[in-house]
């Protein structure tokens, strides 16, 4: 049994959406790797923001503008503590993790990388940590190299020294969104630094699920999104080492990112506002702050333990029940993976699997999970993916398994 100490049922009660039905069945939400549901306190705080203190930030010298500004900046400090950054100046708010990675591609990379340089990517990356580098590569004739994977979807680091030769930037996800593989980020960041490379981590699938300590990880940039960690859509975070951020040129131009503008030119604002042109997503940032407090109250260690237990339970149950009819991709042991379970059932297309599951209220993702290069390596076009979070319990896995049985009946 899992959940003896972790009260996922009680937590579920904090999420209004999880009270609804889908196709006449209670919803079983198993797509938190795509986006998490939102606790009522996040929703309420954002509504209250609009009702009580909506004003533009860093502008007005009136009461509500000061309240809005201080709430937003308090969130910056909160996020900074949450990931153990050395300064809140290292927290740049973006609209999502994709924008955070693109910010690095357009500022740091375009000011530092030149023709012939090498970028090393892991084969587990999401398109958001591939395409910005393809764009740069075609613009500057930069070589892109790939860290291969083993049969069970873990990074194969047997040739990492050779792969790192001449590398200026190493990009890796902390956790694979498609397979749930937990990657050895610290080891890779250290190896990158030994050859003088910078290390960027896509932490979208780790920050919501484990304790994150950027000092311990040793990377240089870390990107994550708010909406996968109980926060709203429309806000993401780029963490970067202050000394690197300070040397980077600005990203988008406009208000907020300037100190002064004349008819001849402009001077840039300080970090992090230098990278936050225009009115930021104020309500969303404040909502993210509430989400961080919510997760802290549950405790990141407890969350990881719950997800690991539940993943173990799911892997065992699905394997016992379906045997060879069900292929689960990624590492075998729950200790090496997050709560992402990518699978295929017989030769039934994942689209059809998810369509039937939906009929039982079960929400899973079907497709390539924005990881087409990885899908090619796995030799599949698509998989079905169930991904777990704090509000999931064993009963959700049981409903999933029962619904998979029904898929088999239709396509037998």
């Amino acid at each position: 049994m899992t959940g003896n100490t972790f009260e996922s049922e009680k937590i579920k009660g904090d999420f209004p959406l999880l009270e609804r039905e889908v196709n006449g069945k209670p919803i079983v939400y198993l797509d938190s790797a795509a986006t998490s549901q939102k606790p009522i306190e996040v929703i309420d705080r954002m509504t209250d923001y609009y009702k009580q203190i909506n004003a533009n930030v860093h502008r007005g010298a009136y009461h509500i503008a000061e309240l809005a500004t201080s709430e937003m900046e308090e969130t910056r400090a909160k996020v900074s503590r949450f990931i153990n950054a050395s300064s809140e100046k290292e927290i740049v708010f973006t609209k999502n993790a994709t924008e955070a990675i693109n910010l690095v591609a357009y500022t740091w990379a375009r000011s530092q990388l030149k023709e012939g340089d090498v970028i090393l990517l892991s084969s587990l990356e999401h398109h958001s940590n591939i395409v910005p580098w393809h764009q740069l590569s075609s613009e500057r004739n930069i070589e892109i190299r790939w860290i291969p994977i083993t049969q069970d979807g873990q990074l194969d680091l047997s040739s990492i020294d050779e792969l790192l030769a001449g590398v200026k930037l190493l990009c890796v996800s902390a956790v694979s969104n498609a397979l749930g593989t937990i990657n050895p980020v610290k080891q890779l960041a250290d190896a990158a630094h030994k050859v003088g490379a910078i290390c960027l981590v896509d932490a979208c699938q780790s920050v919501p699920h484990f304790e994150t300590d950027v000092e311990e990880l040793g990377a240089d940039f870390l990107a994550f999104s708010g909406h996968k960690m109980c926060g709203p859509t429309g806000v993401g975070v780029l963490w970067g080492r202050l000394e690197i951020l300070e040397k980077m040129p600005p990203f988008l131009g406009g208000g907020e990112m300037i100190l002064n503008v004349t008819s001849d030119g402009f001077t840039t604002n300080e970090v992090p506002w230098k990278f936050e042109a225009g009115t930021p997503p104020i309500a969303e940032i404040i909502g993210l702050g509430v989400a961080v407090s919510y997760l802290e109250r549950i405790g990141m260690e407890a969350i990881r333990e719950h997800e690991q237990n539940l993943t173990s339970y799911a892997l065992d149950l699905l394997t016992d029940r379906f045997g060879d009819d069900l292929t689960i991709y990624g590492p075998e042991a729950a200790v090496n993976r997050s709560g992402v379970i990518s699978f295929s059932y017989r030769d039934i297309h994942p689209h059809d699997v998810s369509q039937v599951l939906d009929q039982y209220g079960v929400c899973v993702r079907a497709g390539h999970h924005c990881c087409k290069p990885l899908m090619t390596l796995l030799g599949v076009n698509a998989t079905a993916r169930a991904s777990l979070y704090i509000y999931n319990g064993e009963s959700d896995i049981e409903v999933l398994a029962d619904a998979i049985d029904e898929v088999g009946k239709i396509f037998s």
Binding site: N23, H349, P350, V356, Q359, G367
Partner: protein
């Protein structure tokens, strides 16, 4: 399966399990077009061999879900030996059936349209419009075929 009868009709499942006109044709003389569904990664290749303005053979290579495979298989079966003009008309009628009008969304009743009677078995795919995300599956092979027909005009 309650609720999914409109989507997974018997004839659709039959074409999915026993797809017709599978395989490749030598190019040239045949013409090949590919289609991709970026949503789910499905891929289709459609090969068409014409003699004058008649479709002598059509072959499908499809990696996709039941709807995309069945739809492509049913398409192949219904256009073989047809003229390019007839094929073009069929494509238009099929696409019309697949187009989602806002007024149709969410309505369980599917309107009958005289225009669609000529679609024959293909009418079985009409249930797909109730599941808007699957429309792209149903039209995957048709769009590739449409490109081939367009190139022959």
């Amino acid at each position: 399966m309650p609720g999914l009868e409109d989507l997974y009709k018997e004839i659709i499942l039959d074409h999915y399990k026993n797809p017709r006109n599978q395989g490749e044709l030598p190019v040239p003389p045949a013409v090949m077009e590919e289609g991709f569904n970026p949503l789910c990664g499905d891929e289709v290749k459609v090969y068409v061999l014409t003699d004058g303005d008649v479709i002598k053979d059509i072959r499908i290579v499809c990696q996709g879900c039941s709807i995309s495979q069945a739809s492509a298989s049913m398409m192949a079966e219904s256009v073989i030996d047809k003229t390019l003009e007839e094929a073009k008309n069929l494509i238009e009628k099929f696409k019309e059936m697949m187009s989602v009008h806002e007024s149709n969304l969410g309505s369980a009743e599917l309107s009958e349209d005289n225009n669609e009677n000529s679609l024959g078995d293909l009418q079985a795919l009409k249930g797909v419009v109730k599941y808007p995300v699957r429309i792209k599956c149903a039209t995957l092979g048709w769009n590739a075929f449409d490109q081939i027909i367009g190139s022959k005009e």
